[in-house]
């Protein structure tokens, strides 16, 4: 694949290399009565066509707010700032609501967590799919229906014509999520944001939907941003991963690199929480990260993970922890030096821990 790309001229390569979505220094502040909530802090990433970026982290770490910020769908009290925010080279930072409405569902699509509630109960599936198409394309309803039938087939739904005439309540969760995927693909977007698309589904359906994502990605040349808290999913379909904690990306890189030798103690902690079949002994407790997510209200100083970190040092307390590069495209936000073996089993003696 790489060799083939090198054979093609430089122009073609640079075109291929242009990321579909570039985010740099994205921050979201939410004004609350008792202070400002820094929900997302200086988040940067980019996704190319054919790539899947997984954003992982526990509840409240800013994953969903990040995705809503990309879509310009934040709640009214939220304020978004960014050094760069580009969709297919277009600057979205100062895009008006009208301009964003033209892009949403057209160039950038979003799939939500719960397929049971993300379809309007009073319209047939066909109607809802066609409406998206008609909103963004000058076309006839017949053409829209044709597109809908084609996509339903592509997302693995048999007898699409019959399904299009049905209402959401007549479909199972897995089918509805397929409908949602088909709906976001109606206009052929370049970027697809999926916010925990399989969380509400049972395990077997989850696997099917993930496979579907992979298939569709190559067919439609999609850049996918997948938000999840399931590292299993990341390992399965992610090409790169961004680990978020306390509104910041604490580690980002190729999935293989990050999973092999996690540099941030939080990433290591998350990986330790995954039970591996066959390795668990009796009396052996599942891994967990002690402590709670810190409050994001007020000024954020130092490393937000330090209170839960077994490696914490005095210098974690103040200043801004800079992003360090392990290698180009793989960075982490920690004062510890890079360690090719990862952070496992390197607990700092308690005497050195200054919390």
């Amino acid at each position: 694949m790489r060799a083939a790309a090198q054979l093609v001229g430089t122009a073609a390569r640079s075109a291929e290399a242009a990321p579909a979505l570039v985010v740099e220094g994205l921050s979201v502040d939410i004004a609350l009565p008792h202070g400002t909530l820094h929900a997302v802090n200086d988040v940067s990433f980019s996704v190319r066509a054919g790539e899947t970026l997984c954003i992982v982290g526990e509840s409240g770490c800013g994953k969903t707010i990040t995705s809503l910020a990309l879509m310009h769908l934040l709640p009214r009290q939220a304020r978004r700032t960014a050094r760069a925010l580009q969709l297919e080279g277009r600057d979205l930072r100062n895009a008006s609501e009208k301009e964003m409405a033209l892009l949403r569902g057209n160039r950038i699509g979003m799939i939500f967590q719960d397929p049971m509630t993300s379809l309007n109960p009073v319209y047939t599936i066909g109607n809802q799919l066609e409406e998206v198409y008609l909103r963004h394309r000058r076309s006839s309803r017949a053409e829209a229906r044709e597109r809908a039938e084609y996509l339903l087939e592509r997302v693995g739904i048999s007898s699409p014509a019959m399904r299009l005439a049905q209402y959401p309540h007549q479909l199972s969760g897995g089918l509805r999520q397929r409908m949602m995927i088909a709906m976001t693909l109606m206009c052929g977007p370049s970027v697809l944001i999926a916010d925990e698309p399989t969380t509400a589904l049972d395990v077997t359906v989850q696997a099917e939907i993930l496979r579907l994502f992979a298939d569709l990605q190559s067919e439609f040349n999609l850049a996918i941003i997948l938000i999840t808290h399931d590292l299993g999913i990341v390992a399965r379909i992610g090409s790169s991963v961004a680990v978020m904690y306390g509104g910041r990306v604490v580690e980002a890189g190729r999935v293989a690199d990050v999973f092999h030798a996690p540099q941030h103690p939080y990433t290591q902690g998350l990986l330790d929480c995954i039970p591996v079949p066959g390795t668990a002994r009796q009396q052996h407790r599942l891994g967990s990260i002690p402590g709670l997510v810190p409050s994001l209200v007020g000024e954020q100083k130092g490393c937000s993970f330090r209170n839960r970190c077994s490696h914490a040092l005095a210098e974690c307390k103040d200043g801004l922890i800079a992003l360090r590069d392990v290698q180009p495209g793989w960075g982490y936000r920690c004062v510890l030096p890079p360690d090719p073996a990862g952070r496992h089993g390197k607990a700092v003696p308690a005497s050195l821990v200054a919390v």
């Binding site: 009214r76 949403r104 109960p121 409406e131 909103r135 049905q166 089918l175």
Partner: protein
């Protein structure tokens, strides 16, 4: 693997019945709805009574045996057919001016229905617009909307109507305007709170995510979800407005005489109530039956149209 869930009212089907031929064809939602409607006893009874009154009102000139203002001085205060002195010439008797009560009831249905239905629709429109805007946008806009609703709630309908009518002359148009402008609060409250709930539903976020505008979301995504509630509310309000109109007419503030409405017929019969009770009873029972029928039909419509198929 059966992904399709067809709401079959199993209880009402005989166990031994062969599968209906329709089951092999795909059941369209419309056919399902009609099927549910055809099994809803309340809807059928209420709907037919209401429809009957509407048809009678529409074709009043062809149905009524006499004109509503025709007086027959020789036959005043006749008893209805079920009394000893009744005659088929005037099945429901005549009033103090010798006018045929049946004819006046038939023409009265026209005015009563016209006023209450039109006023309800006006009120539904005003209330829905106000309520949905407040519920959808929230914040300051909602505060203003709530304030307007509170102002409206503090106005007693009958007193305001009384004040307005005492200044200007009463007419059907004025009555419709007053009732329409004074009864939208319920629609506003219901649509506002439902919009608030619905606004948080994921399909609204999904619609915005698919590029829908606020106007599209309010009119095309939210409104259809509220419609069955609004329809039920309209039927309830029509029933209430029939009563209010009757009350206003009874007080002499409604449609000016001699135009018949069911309320004014009661009002006219009031003086004779103790020795000719039918003059009050007939329009009273008619109002009662119509109001019950409308309520039954409204509940039925809600049951049948709800996409979740509560039936």
């Amino acid at each position: 693997m059966s992904e399709m869930e067809v709401p079959i009212p199993a209880v009402s089907q005989p166990v031994l019945a062969a599968p209906a031929p329709a089951a092999s064809q795909p059941l369209t939602p419309r056919r399902l709805m009609l099927r549910r409607a055809s099994r809803h006893v309340g809807l059928i009874i209420g709907g037919s009574v209401f429809l009957f009154v509407v048809i009678v009102a529409l074709f009043a000139p062809y149905i009524a045996p006499y004109g509503p203002y025709d007086q027959d001085a020789a036959r005043r205060l006749m008893d209805p057919i079920w009394s000893a002195g009744g005659s088929w010439a005037h099945p429901l008797g005549t009033d103090a001016l010798g006018r045929d009560v049946l004819s006046r009831m038939i023409y009265g249905a026209r005015i009563s229905l016209y006023i209450s239905v039109t006023a309800s629709l006006i009120a539904a429109f005003i209330g829905t617009v106000i309520g949905m805007i407040g519920g959808y946008y929230g914040g300051r806009i909602d505060a203003v909307v709530l304030y307007i609703i509170n102002v409206k709630l503090s106005l007693p309908i009958v007193l305001v109507a009384l004040a307005v009518i005492s200044i200007t002359a009463s007419s059907v148009g004025l009555l419709i305007a007053i009732l329409g402008l004074l009864t939208w609060d319920r629609y506003a409250l219901v649509t506002r709170s439902m919009t608030q709930q619905m606004r948080e539903r994921e399909f609204i976020l999904a619609a915005r995510g698919a590029g829908a505008s606020d106007l599209y979301i309010i009119t095309r995504e939210l409104l259809p979800n509220l419609l069955d509630q609004i329809i039920v509310l309209v039927t309830l309000e029509v029933a209430i407005l029939i009563l209010v109109e009757a009350a206003l007419s009874f007080l002499g503030l409604g449609v000016p005489p001699p135009t018949p409405t069911w309320g004014s017929i009661i009002s006219e019969g009031r003086g004779m109530m103790f020795f000719k009770p039918h003059m009050v009873m007939i329009p009273g029972v008619a109002i009662l039956i119509l109001v019950i029928a409308i309520n039954l039909a409204g509940d039925g419509i809600r049951d049948v149209t709800a996409p979740e198929g509560r039936a």
